[in-house]
Amino acid sequence: MKKQLLLTSLSAVLALGLAACGNSNTAENSGEASNAGKASDAGAASGEKTKITYWTGDRHDAEFVKEKVAEFNETNTDGIEVELVVKGDDFDTALDLSFQTSDSPDVIRVKENTIGTFYKKEYLAPIDEYLSDDMKAKFPEMTDLNTFDGKRYSLPNYGTTMRLIYNKDLFAKAGVTNPPATLQELVDTAKKLTAAGKADGAYGFAQNFKSPTSALGRSARVIAEMSGFGGFGYDFKTARFDFSGFKPIIEAFKQIKDDGSMLPGVESLDIDPLRAQFAEGKIGMYLSYSSEPGVYSTQFPAKIDWAAAPAPTIDGKVKGASGFLGGQWLALSSKSKHKDAAWKFMEYMYSDQMLTSYQEKGFGISMVPSISATAKTPEVNGIEGFLPNQYDGVWPVYPSVAPEGMKSDDAFFKYMLNGGDLDATISDLNKRYNAALDDAIKNDGLKAEPDPSFDPAALAGKFAK
């Protein structure tokens, strides 16, 4: 009996303790909520820090951003303390969970292929009220890339170009002077590089097929776009999916694999292990984004001489534009309780000095005209090949649909491994993706209007001649 009473008392004390903790949090939270928007001032006045979080999935600039966040924390006079959270490939998933658990960040790194989804999910707050006229003029407004339904949700910083990255040492050893400009040259060069390097464990070509979506999203996409086809199989002229442009690309990749010119084990290769192998000189060529120079200067210091060149096209003729991805960078969380403080941090991140540093340190290529005009060429080795050229251009936003059955990247990779009838695969993809497109137009309000005058080649040449 005594024991039971003792246990009951103990439970009650514990429960009260927990409740007390809960209450204190609630009080704090409600205080924060009621002071939303003025928190930074209140924090500064009371001597307490206003804590905000910034989530990014970028790793190539992580050290630089960490340094700049620390600098902001030390120098800002508003009592704001920013916690930087660098996520990996699980960024989108973690963000979804954070919004479901009310533990969402205040400032979010958004990209050209996430901002639309985050907007629809109501994760983002419009920033128009914070923008001065100068800022409005300085940062280009881009529909569906930073502006939705007339409201701005982000501002551009840098854009990402896509290139063929190649190992100059291995090229020299194989006696190859120029990077490939056609798919046939890509296949032949991969073969020559493998012949020259195989004894030392080096192979001509590699792709990170642990995730076919990631692998083809950085390789087949840019080849298709340079050749005049929509990078995700969508044709803006007809407003229909048509994957037939991918046929020669996937066939070339399969040929490289069948020739034995592909790094063994690409089936389970992730992008970072691929980069690590390239830095060691074990890979002759691969296709990826302009974040690579940053990677090879900090994350995996390259032991080889390397460079970047425009991606090859199907037949050597450039009929489209190499996607220049960007138009947005940081966004304000709709659930932030410290929007003013978060905006002050964003203002700091969007300062001329910061944007200039971004370009000059080689973390990205500025998409802000005033910065592009004044910033020096980046200091980072290898960035020259990624600077905008006459082929780069911003493609319209591709519609996202949910087809039944296998996704296009998985279907193409399956063909690369097992062979089969590629025409039948493409016909099946077209049928399923267009069915999903029709469904999304009919039921989800997706807008997809044909544009017979759409000319992919006209997208190019706006950032450099």
Partner: protein, 300 residues
């Protein structure tokens, strides 16, 4: 203390866990139950579509491929891990030197995070610079190494990793069962002339029946639901060769593939229907096993 006070006292202790179960267990299930009749992408309005998600499951070759892979994976894992853990338990139940240390060593994988374990195994098995291939090449066992995570061997590799992670746990449960078998049963059988193999066959196995039934049950459910190490090692590839049911389900909710994955759409509605179907499959297999193994629960 009268009965009603006793009951109130018991309920007060049950309340916290009941609340947690309600919030973390029942609510998500109810949520999924609702959305399996909807087309819902995680934003906007959920659209009621009746049984369309279920008819889609019936024609979803990828899902059924993942079901077949799940059976292969679970079957392989069970066939290797149960006999191996029983054997280890029988050996470590004997008075051999260092048995405590060995028990701890074999149990160690259970306390290591599955994801961390899988990353370590990735460095061992990866084809281009994996430790295992370097060993095979160095000692001329293979000239160019083996593509452990390639189309031919990926399933075997993920099964081996799963067995490594599971054996210690089941071994410990078997050990607990073995230690409950009275010593005098063995002594009297020895007097009757039974050898070690006969003792194992006619005393150990029958008396271990209830534990064996429970361990196999847990192993079946764990194997059918397992996907974490596969996610790290192969992400279900190459070309769906190691795509198991719960990994397929996970990808419907959270598409993988880094930044390019965002061109894909989250399918909360269809994912909920697949989750229900997967739960039905796991539940049915567990029930069938439970019915088929009911004799194991009796110690004659």
């Amino acid at each position: 203390m009268n009965k009603s006070k006793n009951a109130a006292f018991a309920y007060s202790f049950l309340l916290p866990s009941a609340l947690l179960t309600l919030v973390l267990g029942i609510y998500p299930i109810a949520w999924a139950f609702r959305y399996m009749f909807y087309n819902y992408k995680g934003y906007g309005t959920a659209r009621f579509i009746g049984l369309d998600n279920f008819s889609r499951i019936l024609r979803d070759a990828e899902f059924w491929n993942s079901v077949v892979n799940t059976f292969v994976y679970a079957g392989g894992k069970l066939l290797l891990s149960i006999p191996l853990s029983l054997l280890l338990a029988a050996i470590l139940n004997r008075k051999i030197r260092g048995r405590q240390l060995l028990r701890a060593v074999f149990f160690m994988p259970t306390v290591i995070s599955t994801a961390v374990m899988a990353v370590v195994f990735f460095t061992i098995f990866n084809s281009y610079n994996g430790i295992l291939n370097q060993f095979l090449i160095k000692f001329n066992i293979s000239s160019s190494g083996i593509d452990w995570l390639g189309p031919k061997h990926a399933m075997l590799t993920v099964i081996l990793v799963a067995v490594w992670g599971a054996v210690g746990n089941y071994m410990l449960l078997f050990l607990a069962g073995l230690q409950n078998i009275p010593e005098d049963v063995y002594e009297s059988s020895s007097l009757d002339g039974a050898n070690k193999i006969q003792q194992f066959r006619f005393i150990t196995l029958p008396m271990l029946g209830p534990v064996l039934q429970m361990v196999i049950m847990l192993a079946i459910i764990n194997a059918l639901k397992g996907y974490e190490s596969i996610m790290v090692l192969t992400e279900g590839g190459p070309a769906g060769k190691t795509e198991v049911m719960f990994l397929y389900l996970y990808k419907l909710f959270f598409p993988v593939g880094g930044s390019a994955a965002s061109t894909q759409v989250q399918e909360f509605g269809y994912g909920s229907a697949v989750a229900f179907m997967s739960a039905v499959i796991v539940g049915m297999i567990s029930l069938i096993y439970f019915y088929a193994s009911r004799r194991m629960n009796r110690i004659d």
